[in-house]
Amino acid sequence: MNQGDPIPELKVTPDKYLPHRYAGASGDFNPIHIDNDFAQQVGLPRNILHGLYSMAQVARANAAAAGGDPRSLRRLEVQFRGMGVPESEITVTGTVREEADGIVVVDAEAEQDGKKIIRNAEAELRPS
């Protein structure tokens, strides 16, 4: 992984029931994620994805770029922006910013429907 190299794009389309499965897996049952009516009552377009689910996709893309070993992901920092929704494709992209002493720093982001849902993500990888 050399400076300026893109990491392989990760594309994923969370299905309609993904927020429910993620709620069960993570323990975060906030109704804005799993109750469409509630979400609309509080002014959202519909039930929205958990931000930490979207962050997990950025983590996946970076670990995969480093060879797929979970131990290769040393650090990940993200900013959540906008809202991710189910039933629409998410694309994670990234570019190697620098490589020094076996540690690769990647700038990454996630977008959906032309809008960034995660921006200014920074990953530190130790490729295996």
């Binding site: 993904l18 993570s26 931000g51 930490l52 996946r60 993200v78 900013q79």
Partner: protein, 147 residues
Amino acid sequence: MAVDDGAKGKSYPPFEYEVGKEKIAEYANAVGEDNHVYFDRQAARDAGFRDVPAPPMFAVVYSAGAMAPAITDPEVGIDLMSMVHGGQEFVWGEPVCAGDVITTTAEVDDISEKGGMGFYVFSSVSTNQDGAEVVRGTWTNIVRGVS
């Protein structure tokens, strides 16, 4: 400023979480992780893990019980209905595997206000049963309309 930063520096009791193999599989399935090491003990051992490892972002699962009391603490004063998760950072150490007992402590790092928004920053440190650090988290929550 309109936000009260009196809880800055406050820490919360440790929260203990025992990591289960099937919970790792459930989480891995939910986020789309398909590496065999998350599901198959032999594959995990062949890859040099003590047991089935948790995906890095499983940190949210074992940390949640430590974070909730901090984020909902009346002394911190977050209006949960107006709160959004603004940012997140994890720094990973020793891998977490099935059977591990993870202890997480949370602390209020900073409370500040900027442009009518309150910024509440929490930190967490998680260690395993051997005292090795497994993850360090920084959780930034933003509350709109605080002034």
